[in-house]
């Protein structure tokens, strides 16, 4: 099942957030998932050539969640898109579940690879894009990174490799919420302006609103300029959709339980 253009997107996105908050009773990282869920939904429902029918094909489009700690968003989207039995979400983070707090390797066909160690996804995605070109596939490779993740030196190795090889079937997406695990990004790296860095590495750079579903579908879906990898900086709000979680660092860590859970679900219902 895919979620096409004639669906009430606001309701779909709200239900994804509801699933995330429900899962987050058992783990941290709720604000991370709420930050990137609209991006992942736009990719799976509107952009990628990927459905439950072609999920095992190698020549389809591919997505790597490099910021693996945002996986509740991915699980919710996969369940909604028919890639996972929605009842599996109830097992999230429980012993014996295939839905761990970082994606497991090789268990769910729609999950390309295990991630969670930051800084790995971009180089893998670049290699996949190069491999697709060598094999003459039309597939595009999308990879979602955190802005904090861009601290990792290996991100820049991947960025250089992709630019050197002119991988115009590769799209990196930065969840640009400005907050990393212990502080605002601007405090950790005050002299770093990420879009300038990516541009200096030879990438085509774009910015867009990371919570505007229609805008995301349009920007992410358009082809790259010939011969260049593209990065889309998505302006996002960490904890988006639940006002008391928004831009509040505590919700990087805190499970959503008891009164918090009721309040968070209530905020979604009110929206």
């Amino acid at each position: 099942m895919t979620v096409g253009e004639n669906v009430d997107h606001a309701a779909v996105l709200s239900s994804l957030r509801r699933d995330i908050i429900t899962m987050a009773e058992r783990s941290g990282h709720v604000a991370v998932a709420l930050s990137c869920v609209d991006i992942i939904a736009a990719l799976y429902f509107r952009v990628m050539n990927l459905s439950p029918d072609n999920v095992t094909a190698v020549d389809r489009d591919h997505f790597i969640l490099s910021k693996g700690h945002g996986c509740m968003a991915l699980y919710a989207v996969l369940a909604r898109g028919g890639f996972l039995d929605p009842r599996q979400l109830e097992t999230y983070a429980r012993s014996g579940s295939l839905l761990a707090e970082h994606p497991l390797a090789g268990k769910i066909p729609a999950i390309e690879c295990a991630t969670g160690t930051l800084g790995h996804g971009l180089a893998i995605a670049a290699g996949m894009a190069h491999g697709a070109q060598l094999r003459h596939f039309d597939s595009r490779i999308f990879v979602l990174l955190g802005d904090g993740e861009c601290d990792e030196g290996s991100v820049w190795e991947g960025a250089a490799l992709a630019a050197n090889k002119s991988l115009d079937n590769l799209v990196a997406i930065v969840d640009w919420n400005g907050i990393q695990a212990c502080a605002p990004c601007a405090e950790v790296s005050p002299r770093i302006h990420l879009p300038t860095c990516w541009e200096a590495f030879g990438w085509e750079v774009e910015e867009t609103d990371g919570h505007d579903y229609e805008g995301l579908a349009k920007v992410l879906g358009r082809p790259n300029a010939p011969g260049r990898p593209r990065v889309v900086f998505c302006r996002t709000v960490k904890g988006k959709g639940v006002d008391f979680m928004e831009e509040n660092l505590e919700w990087h860590y805190r499970p959503v339980r008891g009164q918090d859970r009721a309040a968070a679900l209530g905020r979604l219902a009110d929206a």
Binding site: V58, A105, G106, E112, C113, A114, T115, T117, G119, H120, G121, L122, A123, I124, A125, A126, G127, M128, A129, H130, G131, A132, L134, R135, F137, I141, G153, S154, E157, G158, A160, L161, N164, K165
Partner: protein
């Protein structure tokens, strides 16, 4: 070993269009024949080993068969987490080729020595580890790559290792092979230090001591069963490795000796856990480490005479 690797890789590269060669900007002129045949499958990743491993993982996911080449420490420790997660955990068939195992890059000093690689890489689940002893075994490792189901690490020396002219290399790399009769015990070894071990055996034979040599071209999966069978006799066992003791061959064989309970006299020879203080050739380093033929012969003699 290096020339044997590139020569055999060229054959495979021509036969199998899935083969991609990636280098961390090393191997000047050595991969030119590959590039002359098909430049699209030769990728100089630059000095970006972590990125190169991830990139190779992505190529493997697309159905390609990547060989990744660098000097041992850069191809292993520098990018260890990428090897663990991108290759082993995510089960991507990539062959990591480390040139200069052990003290092969002697005077280049400790930055370029690869003396802990096998122990560290060998802890990673799903990794095949090849320790060929000579150019012929290197070729067999390259030929075995298409049949792999996951990643492999191939530890090369440089280019000075002699071909060891016995019949065993022709047989295969999967199983350990016994050279000689274990009349007075066995020396277990892996990799190109085999040449030194065989020289030590000549010294021992001249003194009337006749050990067999067990050579391991495949260190992972570890051949537990074959070694258990061999030490069943209760005769002396000596391990010799161009590697530090932790995580190495000796410690693994020691466990089997202890579990076997046959009371084998047992010794290990390995590289000391310290950085050499001065510049040394490989030959000098082997003496410094107590791994030259005289030291090997003396160690086995002590085991047989109870000294």
């Amino acid at each position: 070993m290096r020339d044997a690797f590139f020569c055999e890789l060229l054959t495979l590269f021509k036969e199998d269009e899935r083969v991609v060669f990636l280098t961390g900007d090393l191997g000047y002129k050595l991969f030119d024949p590959l590039r002359d045949h098909d430049p699209s499958r030769v990728i100089n990743c630059g000095i970006r080993e972590a990125g190169m491993i991830g990139y190779a993982a992505g190529l493997a996911k697309s159905g390609m068969l990547p060989f990744v080449y660098s000097i041992v420490p850069f191809a292993t420790l520098r990018c260890l987490e990428q090897i663990k997660i991108d290759l082993c955990y995510n089960r991507n068939r990539v062959v990591i080729v480390g040139v200069g195992g052990g003290f092969a890059y002697g005077p280049n000093a400790s930055t370029h020595h690869g003396v802990e690689d096998l122990g560290i890489v060998g802890t990673l689940p799903g990794m095949t580890v090849w320790t060929p002893a000579d150019p012929r075994e290197v070729r067999r490792c390259v030929c075995a790559a298409p049949a792999l189901s996951g990643p492999a690490y191939l530890r090369l020396g440089r280019n000075q290792e002699p071909t060891i002219h016995d019949v065993h290399a022709a047989i295969g790399i999967d199983k350990p092979f016994l050279i000689g009769e274990p009349k007075d015990g066995v020396i277990v070894t892996c990799g190109f230090i085999l040449h030194e071990v065989l020289q030590a055996v000549k010294v021992l034979n001249d003194n009337g001591i006749r050990p067999a040599v067990l050579r391991l071209a495949t260190l992972r999966p570890f051949p537990d069963a074959e070694i258990r069978e061999l030490i069943e006799s209760g005769k002396p066992v000596l391990t010799v490795e161009e590697h530090v003791a932790p995580g190495g061959l000796g410690q693994q064989v020691a466990v089997l000796v202890a579990e076997g309970g046959r009371g084998n006299r047992f010794g290990t020879l390995s590289i000391p856990l310290s950085f050499p203080e001065t510049c040394m050739s490989r030959e000098t380093l082997m003496t410094w480490a107590g791994l030259d033929r005289e030291a090997i012969a003396a160690a086995f003699t002590r085991l047989t005479t109870g000294g």
